[in-house]
Amino acid sequence: MKYADEFRDPVKARGVLAQIEEAIDEIGATADAPVYIMEVCGGHTHAIFRYGLDKLVPEGLEFIHGPGCPVCVLPMARVDECVELAERSDVIFTTFGDAMRVPGTRKSLLQAKADGADVRMVYSPLDALEIARRNPNKEVVFFALGFETTTPSSALCIQQASQEDLSNFSVFCNHITVPPPIKALLDDPHMKLDGFVGPGHVSMVIGIEPYQFIARDYGKPIVVAGFEPLDLLQSVLMVLEQIRSGRAEVENQYSRVVPDDGNPVSIAACENVYEPREKFEWRGLGEIDHSGLKIREEYKRFDAESKFRIGYGKASRIVPEPEGCSCSDVMTGKIKPPQCAQFGKGCTPEMPLGALMVSTEGACAAYYHYGGARPELEPAQ
């Protein structure tokens, strides 16, 4: 318990850790035959590394880092299309900072900007709307990516643009959803997963009901978790207690922020604007059924895919991963980040080769910052 002093409530943390150890013993898990728990969310991955939780828990427990980092699962072809749009002289291209740094085949959006394209980093799609209002003679495209947590924001912006009849605003929708990749991973015979720590802020929007299939159809426990290190440890314990008693249920550890039914206004806005695609491409995971969203016909004039004839399914070309990049093997848990030949050499957070090194939520960036490449954290006094 080298780092337990770091917790805001070290006494409680020690107690939970002792219970985790007890549960692992009782389950009979060992270093050679551990319990595999996947934290789905990239924010959780970041917190696990930052607080060294993977080192604090007993050896019989292994965290598998899930696909919940939006820029990490973005296929290179999408970045190429962003660059193509951004390089049009009539376009102002807007997106979040992280997305600007993801490498494309020719260049990233950041490089396109340096080469003269009008690419602007925004904090919110609301900013893209405002840029559209102020530049009526330009096409303003917002590159929308992310899971259910950010989907309501672009949906509400499209509704707002529709109300204002803001015809020079469009959204390049690359939103994805959490349950389908979990199903795909559970269907993969090579994946060993005993339970899940569920993404708290996704459930803040969609509630906990969409995860029922994990317990009902696959017999695996899932606990929706907060982001404090203690939240994560408590959630891990709740998963282990389910395994120990032979239960498989959806539980909510983060009820102080997550209502079981989610946020009804957000759900209604997303259903009004978006519908599921038949399938969608994920970096490292391939095509997954019903895992992406597209803009409904009713809002077609705000859909950059139809306005500029780009997007998933429009071109048949397959864009390979960059030479030497093992992101897909890391994504599917086949190797740990340091086992990639480029890790920390040809691929660093400053000069990322693969997407997992771009965001602080990516497993490679988290590993690089906290996972042994740098000195271990000093315990608090």
């Binding site: 009008d118 925004v122 904090y123 992310g146 947590t149 309501p152 924001s153 802020h201 946020n263 957000s266």
Partner: protein
């Protein structure tokens, strides 16, 4: 992106578009409050409320203690500065002439 940041609602800036001025770690920023509007539609009742803000949208009402705890966590993860930087960058992105 998925972590969000706590902010305190200071005033309602646009009742029709459901926008409010929110203070996030000392920075004032206009955000959308559609997702946390009370059922009776009284936006003013949200003033002084703490909320979790995701990419410019208030997604959940939280209490002051939860806000403080989350801010402490986000500071340790380096996320507070990243959010503030993004808000500042967005201001200049909006003002930039073509």
């Amino acid at each position: 992106m998925c972590l969000g940041i706590p902010g305190q609602i200071r005033s309602i800036s646009d009742y029709e578009r459901k926008l409010a001025l929110v203070e996030v770690s000392g920075v004032n920023r206009e955000i959308n409050i559609a997702c946390i509007m009370p059922e009776d539609g009284d936006a003013d009742s949200l003033i002084d409320t703490w909320t979790l803000v995701h990419v410019g949208f208030a997604m959940s009402r939280i209490d002051e203690k939860e806000a403080a705890l989350t801010l402490e966590l986000l500071t340790e993860l380096g996320e507070v500065q990243a959010e503030i930087d993004a808000m500042r960058a967005a201001e200049s992105a909006m003002e930039q002439a073509t």
